[in-house]
C-alpha cells in the first residue's frame, strides 16, 4: 500500500514538473509575457510605421510593423529600457519614426510655429479692435430693428 502510494506520488510529481516545464517553454517562445506585451504596445503607439505612414507600429499590419513589434518585444525581454529602444529606432529610421519629434533646431518651427502664429493673430485682432473703438458711431451700419430669423417676433 505504501509502495503504491509512493509510486503515485512520484508520478504526480513528474506530471506536475512536466506541465511546469512545458508551460515555461510556451511562455518563452510566444512572448506571452503580459507585462512585456503591454510595455511593447505602449511603446509601439509612439512609433510611426514607415510603410503606412499614418499608422503607428501598434496599429499596422504591415510586415515591417510586425517585425518591429517583435524586435521591441525581444529588446524589452533582454532588459533594454524604453528610451534605449526609442534611440535604436531613431538611429535607423530618423526622427520621423517618432510621433512626437524631439525639440531641436530642425524642428523648432514645428514646435514654436503655432504659438507664434497665435500671438501674431491675437495682436492683430487687438489692434483692429482698438482701431474700431476709436471710430465714430456713423462708421458702422445701424443695428437692425428685429432679427427676421428669430421666431415669435414677426
Amino acid at each position: 500500500m505504501l509502495k503504491l502510494n509512493l509510486r503515485h506520488a512520484w508520478l504526480c510529481l513528474f506530471l506536475v514538473l512536466g506541465v511546469g516545464v512545458v508551460q515555461a517553454k510556451e511562455a518563452e517562445s510566444a512572448a506571452a509575457n503580459p507585462e512585456i506585451e503591454a510595455r511593447m504596445m505602449t511603446l509601439a503607439t509612439e512609433l510611426r510605421c514607415l510603410v503606412c505612414q499614418n499608422q503607428t507600429i501598434a496599429d499596422s499590419h504591415a510586415d515591417l510593423a510586425v517585425d518591429l513589434r517583435q524586435q521591441i518585444r525581444e529588446m524589452l525581454a533582454t532588459g533594454k529600457t524604453e528610451n534605449e529602444i526609442r534611440d535604436y529606432m531613431v538611429q535607423r529610421y530618423g526622427d520621423f519614426v517618432l510621433y512626437k519629434p524631439p525639440f531641436k533646431a530642425s524642428t523648432a518651427v514645428l514646435w514654436i510655429g503655432p504659438a507664434v502664429l497665435l500671438v501674431l493673430a491675437l495682436t492683430l485682432l487687438g489692434l483692429m479692435l482698438r482701431k474700431r473703438q476709436r471710430l465714430s458711431d456713423d462708421a458702422f451700419d445701424p443695428e437692425p430693428e428685429a432679427d427676421p430669423n428669430t421666431p415669435n417676433k414677426a
Binding site: 514607415l50 515591417l64 517585425d67 524586435q71 531613431v90 538611429q91 535607423r92 529610421y93 530618423g94 520621423f96
Partner: protein, 176 residues
C-alpha cells in the same frame, strides 16, 4: 482702399507657393539618418550557398552598392533590368544583393528568370539586416565607401536619371 484689396491676393499667393512646395515634396522619402554613418555590421548566409557566410568586412577597401530586393516586390522587377545593364558596364562597382524576407527558392528562381547582376547575395530571411539598414520600402540601394561608410541611399527603384546624375558621379568620386 486699393492696398486693402490687395491683401487677400497676397495671402492667396503665399498659400499657393506653400502648397506648390508641398506638392513637390515626397512624404515617402524619409532622409536616412544612416547616410554618413558606418554601415551596420552583418554576417549572414549567402543566397546561393547556405553554408557560406558573407560579412560586411569582406567588402572593406572597396566602393560597393547594396541593393535590397525580394521576389515578392513589384518595384524590384521594374528596377532589375537597370541593375543587370549596370553590372555589364565597364568600371561597375560590385553590387551586393540583399534578398530581403524572401524564400530561398523564390529568390533564386527570380534571379535565374530575370538575370543576376549581383557580385554576391546576402540572404536576410527574418529581415534583421533590413531593420539595421533602416529598410522600409524595397527596393532600396545603399552606396558604401572604402571605409564602410554609407554615402548615399536610394529609396525605391533606381531610375536611369538617378543612376546617371547621382549614383555614377558619386561612385566615380569615391573611387578616384
Amino acid at each position: 482702399m486699393k492696398a486693402r484689396l490687395l491683401w487677400p491676393l497676397g495671402i492667396f499667393i503665399v498659400l499657393v507657393v506653400f502648397l506648390a512646395i508641398g506638392l513637390k515634396l515626397d512624404p515617402r522619402e524619409v532622409p536616412s539618418p544612416l547616410v554618413g554613418k558606418p554601415a551596420p555590421e552583418f554576417s549572414a548566409p549567402a543566397l546561393m550557398e547556405p553554408d557560406r557566410v558573407i560579412r560586411k568586412q569582406d567588402m572593406l577597401g572597396k566602393v560597393w552598392m547594396l541593393n535590397v530586393f525580394a521576389s515578392w516586390c513589384v518595384a524590384c522587377r521594374e528596377e532589375h533590368p537597370l541593375m543587370v545593364a549596370y553590372a555589364r558596364t565597364s568600371g561597375a562597382v560590385p553590387v551586393i544583393g540583399l534578398n530581403y524576407k524572401d524564400k530561398r527558392e523564390d529568390g533564386k528562381a527570380w534571379l535565374s528568370q530575370l538575370g543576376n547582376p549581383y557580385t554576391d547575395i546576402v540572404f536576410d530571411l527574418d529581415g534583421r539586416i533590413g531593420i539595421n539598414f533602416g529598410v522600409y520600402g524595397v527596393p532600396e540601394t545603399f552606396i558604401i565607401d572604402k571605409a564602410g561608410v554609407i554615402r548615399y541611399k536610394q529609396i525605391g527603384p533606381i531610375t536611369p536619371e538617378a543612376l546617371r546624375d547621382k549614383i555614377e558621379p558619386l561612385l566615380r568620386q569615391l573611387n578616384a
